[in-house]
């Protein structure tokens, strides 16, 4: 028994020292040993092979299976605005055929709902050997199944414990490190050390997710005194960005482990954490952020204006609050590659723990981050227009569609004012200044 015990201790020690030597130390120094590159190469080759096998194996069923819809939808959408479609030739009266417009729009929405599909995970073009994405694909060949089983074993028995260890090391060192640095008097030494600690811990955490991040246009990286704005897909967005630079986080104070991390990090670096009661007071929030931005020595603020996690196929409405603070906005576009792992957090379906478990048992998290040139509010532009301008830029860069809908529709109902707007537009076509048009009675025509 003793021998077993000492063997276990020896194995554990060997395991930890390997982890430290191969992963933690390089993270601290900011170098890469190339292990993750090799892993990704093997992964890509395996998935390519799997795709070919699946395509060969699928016999043509009758009737032919509908292909998974492309990003631009499954039905032909007629984007003619109401005015053109109904009003037509300058007539000002009601027609029975007016109902067709609303009817078709309603049915298009039922068949393909542009909005709520963004609150669930994107579908994959081909299977990536994860059970959870195996929605459409059925048994193809023995070899594929064997590879899948090996994949399950590798992911759950090797990768998961490794990643869990790394995450634990990362979080612990973050808490300990920032607490230690927080004891120092304010000054350049403290700032430098705080940056080192934050960067190192972010790198460890990114490796804990097997993250491969490609940064583009690093010359546009957010500068001090600015506001960094990005699209939101998951809680790990923040880690993805802090892997490459230091930011001042903005957010609500949480309890539990998150609260511990927040309290520790704010000692070392001026993050902006709000109490739950303060968040309701928009003026207070804006004032505090303005003060932070005005100090040019403070790190750039990181904000996600969508307010909630969207599934990374589109960018939804940006809340205007972040754009009223002033200062320079540095937009950042983040696009995840869903083939290796789905980063989207569907908070109505999974809680944070099962989400993290899913992330840690995916193949990897691969994403592209584009830093974009800074933007400022133009003369005569109000916060909403500015927000829309920034959102368009981010959507274009990341290859995402733009939707004017509020991410809050995930949980809340849509406001009635939209319906009232449509009613108003239609009314304008019926009646203008109280008079009605005159047309020959009888049949209607187009």
């Amino acid at each position: 028994m003793e021998e077993l015990g000492s063997l276990a201790v020896w194995l554990g020690a060997a395991w930890l020292s390997l982890v430290f030597a191969l992963i933690v130390l390089p993270s601290a120094l900011g170098v890469s040993l190339g292990i993750s590159e090799a892993y990704m190469w093997v992964l890509v080759k395996t998935l390519e092979w799997a795709t070919i096998r699946i395509e060969k194996g699928v016999k043509k069923p009758q009737p032919q299976m509908l292909k998974i819809p492309a990003a631009n939808g499954i039905i032909e959408r007629d984007e003619t605005p109401m005015e053109k479609e109904i009003a037509g030739l300058h007539r000002m009266e009601f027609r029975f055929s007016d109902i067709f417009y609303f009817c078709r729009k309603g049915f298009e929405a039922i068949v393909e709902d542009e909005v709520t599909q963004r609150f669930s995970s994107e579908e994959l073009v081909s299977w990536n050997l994860l059970t959870r994405t195996n929605v459409n694909f059925h048994y193809v060949s023995l070899r594929l199944t064997v590879v899948w089983v090996i994949g399950v074993m590798v992911r759950y028995c090797f990768l998961l414990p490794l990643r869990f260890t790394l995450a634990a090391i990362g979080i612990t060192s973050m808490i300990v490190g920032t607490t230690v640095v927080g004891q120092l008097p304010n000054g350049s030494l403290k700032n430098y050390l705080s940056e080192v600690v934050h960067l190192t811990c972010s790198r460890i955490l990114v490796r804990a997710l097997s993250g491969t991040i490609h940064y583009h246009n690093k010359e546009n990286k957010p500068q001090k005194g600015g506001i960094c704005v990005a699209n939101h897909t998951s809680p790990i967005d923040a880690i993805i960005l802090t892997n490459d630079g230091c930011y001042a986080m903005v957010g609500q104070v949480h309890g539990g482990l998150m609260g511990v991390i927040q309290r520790a990090t704010v000692k070392a670096c001026p993050h902006v954490w709000f109490e739950r009661s303060e968040i309701k007071d928009r003026h207070l929030v804006t004032k505090r952020l303005r003060e932070h931005v005005a100090d040019k020595n403070k790190l750039p603020i990181l904000i996600f204006p969508e307010g909630t996690c969207i599934n990374n196929t589109s960018v939804m409405m940006f809340k205007k609050g972040s754009f009223e603070i002033g200062g320079t906005i540095y937009p950042v576009a983040i696009k995840y590659d869903p083939q290796f792992g789905d980063a989207f957090w569907n908070s109505s379906k999974y809680n944070i723990v099962s989400y993290l478990l899913r992330i840690m048992t995916s193949w990897a998290i691969v994403c592209h981050v584009w830093y974009m040139p800074p933007m400022v509010r133009k003369e005569g532009e109000d916060a909403v227009q500015f927000a829309n301008r920034v959102r368009s830029a981010i959507a274009r860069q990341g290859g995402l569609t733009e939707l004017p809908w509020d991410g809050g529709l995930k949980r809340a109902k849509v406001k009635d004012s939209f319906k009232e707007e449509q009613q108003k537009n239609y009314s304008k076509m019926l009646v203008r200044n109280g008079s009605q048009g005159n047309l020959p009675a009888g049949t209607e025509s187009d």
């Binding site: 299976m65 032909e76 109902i99 579908e123 849509v414 009888g442």
Partner: protein
């Protein structure tokens, strides 16, 4: 007859396959499920459209019923027009599409659009932006123009006559991209 049914069946099957394969696997069964679609919730006639899915007194619709209602919006294929006329009319024929629109107006399902019913539907479409008198005169004029047998209500035949020059097929069809 069999061929046209198969074509319609295939269209429905494509839809079926899509819905079963897609991430939208909620099988909407109740009115609230429809109301959760934002684009439908802001449609002035949203409630009438949702109503079209549910039969009299029923509170839920199953997949088959859902497909039957949706089938009205299938485009009319060219090769169908020459199929034999002996079988039952497909749900997406011009006549059935018009009947579907007629039922949107006919609130009490008595096969006639009365002045009151027209007023109610108009009110849904314009909201609070037009006064009662104006709306009333719009309704009166519309009925007067379309009414042929003098009963101050629009029957289905009169409805069809009024819309005879309208391209119903184009306005009441949804095309799938393949």
């Amino acid at each position: 007859m069999m061929a046209s049914r198969t074509v319609q069946h295939n269209w429905n099957l494509d839809l079926c396959t899509y819905f079963l394969n897609s991430s939208l696997q909620l099988l909407w069964t109740h009115r609230e499920d429809f109301q959760r679609i934002p684009e439908l919730a802001i449609n002035p006639l949203g409630d009438r459209i949702i109503n079209a899915f549910f039969s009299e007194g029923e509170d839920q619709v199953n997949f088959r019923g859902f497909m039957r209602t949706l089938a009205h919006f299938r485009p009319i294929e060219d090769n169908e027009k020459s199929k034999d006329q002996n079988g039952p009319e497909p749900l997406n024929s011009r006549s059935n599409k018009l009947h579907f629109a007629f039922r949107l107006y006919d609130l009490d399902k008595d096969d006639k659009i009365s002045r009151d019913e027209l007023l109610q539907v108009l009110r849904m479409m314009v909201g609070v932006n037009i006064s009662d008198e104006q709306l009333g005169s719009i309704a009166d004029r519309t009925i007067q123009e379309a009414d042929q047998d003098g009963d101050c209500a629009i029957s289905f035949a009169e409805f069809v006559k009024v819309l005879e020059k309208v391209d119903v097929e184009q306005k009441m069809s949804i095309r799938f991209l393949h």
